[in-house]
């Protein structure tokens, strides 16, 4: 009896910890499984090199793979389409401190989002710095603790732990910002402020956010935002006006919009840590959706073993049937081969 009481109070304690530790089962039910395989030993690192928390992955038009990861220091690696290591970009660069996102635009420029320096950096395909948004606070000012109470009003060019970046066909830049602001910002292609949705304050209404954690833009210029702590995805139009909410696929952790004539939206119900036994059973899967929110299928599960996911942080879906997935907690990048045609056959039987 005493043991029972002890474990009961432990459970109550965890449940009281709050949303940061909550895990939610996705509301969508009876979703078809998309068969997939993970390519063994895909990324080949030089001897003695390790990936750290592999929070960010992206491909360019040649299929080269960029991994922006948290090693002892944050680093950006480039691999060829077969997973062979090519080079390191930005070694010792001022804008690298704590990786969060890497994306490649339509001209193969490489954009990094660093939540340790508050900087979004645009590199040329060769790795030269072309433009930055945001500024790293000078270190000699000393560490500043987060004050109690609401965040300061968000300023156009001051990012606060930004999380992701995307572009519309005109080259406008969209930034999800982030952990301490709760907004999406639109800049023009030259980095000049245009508009924002949300603010420094977290909110639950349409067009408000609570930790916008990932962002993608479709060919029509619509913006898909992973609204993580609100457990939903929000779709905004090109002027950042709210259009739709998808709240049936679990936590809004990261989004990916595929290229090609028919674009798909991928959404990850990632499985963060800090949980009691059993939480992995209801999280960790990735959903494939039409842009209008219709769910096509799902794949994957929470696991530290190869082929499973341990906190998916970013997906590349340039080719919707060959995905690159970066995980935080297994320090791993996997290449997945999806077989949606096999799913259809299974349903027809």
């Amino acid at each position: 009896m005493k043991r029972c009481l002890a474990s009961f109070s432990a459970l109550a304690l965890i449940m009281c910890v709050g949303p940061a530790f909550a895990q939610q089962k996705a509301k969508a039910e009876n979703v078809a499984e998309i068969p997939y395989t993970s390519v063994p030993n895909f990324l080949k690192l030089p001897p003695g090199e390790y990936l750290g928390e592999s929070v960010a992955v992206a491909t360019n038009s040649k299929g080269h793979i960029f991994v922006y990861h948290r090693s002892a220091n944050t680093r950006l690696f480039e691999f060829d389409q077969n997973g062979n290591f090519l080079k390191e970009i930005g070694k010792g660069y001022y804008g690298f401190e704590f990786a969060h996102s890497v994306r490649v635009d339509s001209e193969d420029n490489i954009w990094t989002v660093d939540e340790g320096t508050n900087m979004v950096t645009k590199f040329s395909p060769e790795g030269k710095v072309l433009m930055v948004i945001g500024r790293r606070p000078p270190a000699v000012d000393g560490p500043v603790t987060f004050p109690a109470g609401p965040n300061k009003p968000a300023q156009p060019y001051v990012l606060c732990r930004p999380t992701d970046v995307g572009w519309d066909p005109q080259g406008n830049v969209f930034v999800s910002d982030g952990y301490c602001n709760n907004r999406v910002v639109k800049y023009d292609k030259n980095g000049r402020f245009v508009a924002q949705a949300g603010s420094e304050k977290a909110g639950k209404g349409p067009g408000e956010f609570n930790l916008p954690h990932g962002l993608q833009v479709d060919r029509q210029g619509n913006v898909y935002v992973a609204d993580r702590t609100n457990f939903r995805y929000q779709v905004l139009d090109n002027n950042l006006k709210p259009k739709a909410i998808y709240d049936n696929v679990g936590v809004g952790w990261t989004a990916c919009v595929s290229q090609g004539p028919h674009q798909y939206l991928f959404a990850s119900n990632s499985n963060p840590n800090g949980n009691l036994p059993g939480s992995w059973a209801i999280t960790g899967e990735i959903y494939k959706m039409e842009l209008d929110g219709t769910i096509i299928g799902k794949f994957g599960h929470a696991s530290k073993e190869f082929g499973g996911f341990q906190v998916t942080h970013m997906m590349d879906c340039r080719n919707p049937d060959e995905m690159i997935v970066g995980e935080i907690e297994s320090w791993r990048v996997q290449k997945l081969m999806l077989h949606p045609e096999a799913m259809k056959k299974a349903e027809a039987r």
Partner: protein, 357 residues
């Protein structure tokens, strides 16, 4: 009955001389040698971890190099400060494993499992890292806090959502006080015959956490306290061939014994404040435990005990000090060979090879 008498004697001894171990413990004769040959450009720092694999290769997980804190947004980030070295059985340097890896901050322990995988416990990244014998990362438990609290621990005003995993915000170590799959200053790792993983967690938390071989969190037991099944601090863990789990409860000056489900069985006392544990293999198993001295005091404790698994003391050896054959805060003992130990010391930045006679 024998156990009962031992306990009574022990209680009497403790009452008379509270700080000292029983005087009647036999002294084990021993010699010391320096087993490692270091390249000119490698220095050992505090040797928190030392272990050997089935070929006799020696692994040293040491607090060395340059621990740094850099400032980002408004968050200080901690990097580096520990390295993992491999030597062959003759003590010749072979290689470094995990150079510049994310989870190395403050070395605590290195253990080699029966398949020669190398397990590292890092006390401040709050991670257990399993390397395969080739040195590639095979499994990770726990998660390093994204940032560290400097110069003062801030109030509970961490930004929305905390860290990535929900637990890495600026408000403190990720696993503090929670019976979850995160740790708070873990100290050791062990495995049962089925490969299940047991983490001694540790100095911040006071519990044992159990995972499957695949890293799925199963359960944890223990909390801060002095009653049976509670811990003052969990400093080490070892499992015998019968599946008994020995937990060094340094804070309560005892070793507690559990089954693999965490059911309390018994305790072992009169061995000072247990810190490093090592279980020998072979038909008759023995348990070594260190009564390590504090890093800043060599005028107390320091000896290592050899125990039978029922808790009776075979003998002891050593004392705190800086000379060869003396010990400066023993943090890990390797006992693959029952009478030839490798001892890692925090205080003396060295590994000693101890031959027992």
């Amino acid at each position: 009955m024998k156990r009962f008498i031992t306990l009574v004697l022990a209680a009497t001894a403790l009452a008379a001389v509270p700080a000292a171990a029983p005087a009647q413990v036999a002294e084990i004769a021993y010699d010391s040698a320096s087993p490692l040959t270091l390249p000119d450009d490698i220095y050992l720092g505090e040797v928190a971890g030392v272990a050997s694999n089935s070929r006799g290769d020696i692994f040293v997980y040491t607090r060395t190099g340059h621990p740094t804190v850099s400032l980002g947004t408004a968050r200080p980030f901690a990097h580096g400060g520990s390295r993992l070295f491999q030597f062959d059985s003759s003590g010749k340097f072979v290689r470094e494993i995990g150079k510049d890896i994310y989870g190395f901050l403050v070395a605590e322990q290195v253990r080699i499992d029966p398949q020669d995988n190398i397990w590292v416990v890092d006390q401040y990244s709050n991670m257990i890292i399993k390397f395969d014998p080739q040195g590639q990362v095979a499994l990770l438990l726990g998660r390093k806090a994204e940032a560290i609290p400097l110069p003062v621990r801030p109030a509970a005003a961490a930004p929305a959502g905390g860290g990535e995993g929900g637990g890495g915000g600026a408000a403190g170590p990720p696993g503090a006080g929670r019976p979850s799959d995160l740790f708070d200053r873990p100290t050791d790792v062990a495995w049962d015959a089925a490969g299940n993983i047991y983490v001694a967690d540790g100095i911040g938390n006071q519990r044992v956490a159990k995972f499957t071989k695949a890293g799925v969190f199963v359960k944890s037991w223990g909390s801060k306290g002095t009653e049976p099944g509670k811990f003052g601090s969990v400093r080490g863990i070892a499992i015998d061939a019968q599946g008994n789990v020995y937990v060094a409860d340094g804070g309560n000056k005892r070793i507690q014994v559990f089954d693999t489900d965490g059911n309390y069985k018994r305790e072992i006392t009169n061995v000072g404040s247990p810190r490093a544990l090592c279980m020998t293999s072979g038909a008759t198993q023995y348990l070594y435990t260190s009564n390590s001295n504090p890093p800043n005091n060599i005028d107390t404790a320091g000896e290592i005990y050899k125990l039978r698994l029922d808790g009776t003391i075979v003998g002891k050896f050593g004392r705190a000090g800086k000379l060869p054959k003396e010990f400066g805060t023993v943090n890990e003992i390797d006992c693959r060979n029952e009478n030839t130990l490798l001892v890692g010391e925090i205080g003396n930045l060295r590994v000693q090879k101890i031959s027992l006679h």
